[in-house]
Symmetry: C2
Subunit: 429 residues, 2 copies
């Protein structure tokens, strides 16, 4: 099955916003066994949208568009696709009620313009938007309609069978739950391909080529029976993705998981979509242990990641972002002598920060980070990227040194990952 | 002029990595007055790449590809594009010397496979890669070549004039400096288009529909003279983008900016690429004022955003993430009586948190946030989404109430935005 993705938005073409839909939707679709064959992004003008959809329907069995379903005048995807397919727009009272409730809950009056969102192309399914007002839409496009569009590249494929066209709202907070809760069931029902199984093991602390060196040979017998392996590296982590299709797909992937788990063991932090902060919160909650943080160079990102997890308040007591040396001394009890002797970026200061946070908050575990994020502040002895992470617990305080030579944003990300991974291992022990 | 962008990579189609080239290149090109008309991403197989380039050359005057120029066997962009255009690959000794020097500098021997990087399609310009080995390539494609490709959608445009095809390496750290230093001069020399102007005003605190209600009519006279308006909403903020082209483009956009500035005034936090945290850090730095934070429900995100700004350490002393009540009392001096009388989510506690942070860190400004991020923890009186933000400064402490009914992640984002916006206004006063 061919799947194409069309994201629309003039702000994408001007580079105003980062397109995160493509990655998110491609990953979700791949996990369902549908690998996207082409991603297209065009401005949200009617002609561009119509042209992109016409071409995509000529090649693909499933076409998903994002954006342009809202209430403002530059939201025209719904209208222009209805026009392309020659379908009338029909008023749907259920959508009207949904929109009225949405604004009533927020204590706001109905803004002008939302009435366009109540109109649905004839024959389309609509999906009420749990996080906003614009509904998603899904419609079947018949071979006859495809031919009327003068589709295609001359290949017979163009008009083969019924195609699905799905329109999703642009804001990620609306698109994502709608896709998971309302579109996935539709895809499973209407577009079930052959059996497909997919799991991803998420690892941290080993590079991509090492991961491959370790697991490729032991997985070879399963590969010969049809297991697919993919590796994907991001700063600080590597995914190992196992896929199989056809009869016995589930079992083959499960066998593969067992092999990888046995080899990479301690470096695997999670399965599929699990984020490391979720794993950490889950582990600490299960063990009824509490956590405190002392952050310098990660600047609050560690606390931010932990508090992204619903229920984090069960285990997270709090943290100090001690950017200044005075804050390290006053709030965490780091000694002036330690700062003077070793500098703020040192194993000694990291250790005192961790111990200080553990005492201040009365926590079971305390994690501390101090380092040089850059771009300024490096020295020959302690270049930009130098980091010390310390962990304090009932068994004492330990510190480790890392060298994370990246841009400022990636530095914060990678350092946060290393700290969370250490905490995860300590919390599992 | 039509510009299209083709990014290649199978990992993009599986959603394992985020595509950041599109935003980066689109923004750079827009700054030069070239708005990208289409972005396409395909797997890095030869057929997909050839098909995408063939189609793009049928529509666009400038086509830029990224990826597939390296030395490994899945890097085939150079070869398959040469094949598509029927051009021989010619050995370029200068590239060979560059690659040898590159490895010699690192004290490494020449790896196998790099010789493919020394081959250049006949007639192509090449750009030595300052950060790696694979050169960038640029070639003119003549109308005759376009016709030979059997291009196009039947429109006359297809074979009009000479087109440019530019091939860039995939790694961002190679692509970005190459584009800025080597490709921009080429574009300025060869593809100077008509005048183009674009500015974006970034606003906070008003919804997208309201922004449009306020500014659409007053801008109408300018729209009739060719001003383009676009709105882009993200949680808690709305961009108003003004564009114009042709003679007088700059003036039309400047006139538009003046109209919007007059109407939305205090809600405009920045221009173009400015992030609100950058504006805040800049304002505080200019006024030599320092900042401390006390965060409950934003959980460190405020500190994270502030510390994303290089040079934040000039003004940011630190923060406390006081998730537990004990932390609010012990680290910020919130009184037990206040917590008991009003609850942790109250204007009174927010005020004491702000005052406590200001005292603890000795800061000029202190911002405090307490609220219910959800999904749990709401009551009929204080539902999920209830937030109190307080600001302490030399002129005293003020608190405001907000109701941010969103999912947990968006709640944190929106609340952070509101706090930063308040701080921005206070720091500008």
């Amino acid at each position: 099955m061919n799947v194409e993705l069309i994201t629309t938005g003039s702000e994408l073409m001007l580079g105003r916003v980062l397109n995160t839909h493509q990655q998110w939707l491609c990953r979700r679709l791949a996990d369902l066994g549908h690998v996207v064959t082409r991603q297209v992004a065009v401005a949200d003008t009617g002609d561009e949208i119509q042209q992109a959809v016409r071409e995509a329907l000529g090649r693909a069995d499933l076409v998903i568009t994002t954006g342009g379903l809202g209430p403002t005048t530059d939201d025209i995807t719904r209208e222009r696709i209805a026009e392309l397919l020659g379908r009338k727009l029909v008023f749907q009272p259920d959508i009207r009620v949904h929109i009225e409730n949405f604004f009533a809950q927020k204590g706001r009056s109905l803004p002008a313009g939302t009435s366009v969102e109540t109109m649905v192309p004839e024959g389309a399914l609509f999906f009420l938007n749990a996080m906003g007002t614009a509904p998603g839409l899904a419609m079947q496009v018949s071979p006859a309609e495809c031919e009327q569009l003068q589709l295609g590249n001359g290949k017979a494929r163009a008009a083969q069978g019924v195609k699905w066209l799905i329109l999703l709202p642009g804001p990620p907070r609306e698109l994502r739950p709608m896709f998971d809760r309302q579109i996935v069931p539709l895809l499973k029902r209407e577009l079930a391909d052959e059996l497909f199984a997919c799991h991803t093991l998420r690892t941290s602390g080993i590079g991509e080529s090492r991961v491959q060196e370790f697991v490729a040979a032991p997985l070879q017998p399963l590969v010969e029976r049809g297991l697919g392996i993919g590796y994907c590296a991001r700063p600080g982590e590597v995914d190992v993705r196992l896929t199989a299709s056809g009869a016995g797909a589930d079992q083959r992937v499960r066998d593969g998981l067992a092999v990888v788990q046995k080899i990479l063991g301690a470096n695997i932090y999670g399965l599929d979509d699990e984020e490391i902060e979720e794993v950490v919160v889950r582990l600490l909650t299960a063990r009824k242990k509490t956590l405190a943080l002392a952050e310098s160079c990660t600047g609050g990102n560690l606390a931010h990641r932990i508090t992204n997890v619903a229920g984090a308040s069960e285990i997270f007591l709090g943290g100090v972002v001690s950017y200044s040396n005075a804050a390290k001394q006053n709030l965490l009890g780091v000694r002036a002598a330690t700062l003077a002797a070793h500098g703020a970026v040192s194993a000694e200061v990291a250790g005192e920060m961790a111990q200080g946070a553990r005492n201040q908050f009365g926590a079971d575990f305390a994690l501390a980070v101090t380092g040089i994020a850059g771009p300024g502040g490096g020295t020959p002895e302690k270049p930009v990227g130098t980091v010390f992470i310390a962990l304090a617990s009932a068994s004492g305080v330990t510190a480790k040194k890392f060298l994370n030579v990246w841009d400022r944003a990636t530095f914060k990300q990678v350092t946060t990952m290393q700290a969370l991974e250490w905490l995860r291992q300590a919390a599992s022990a």
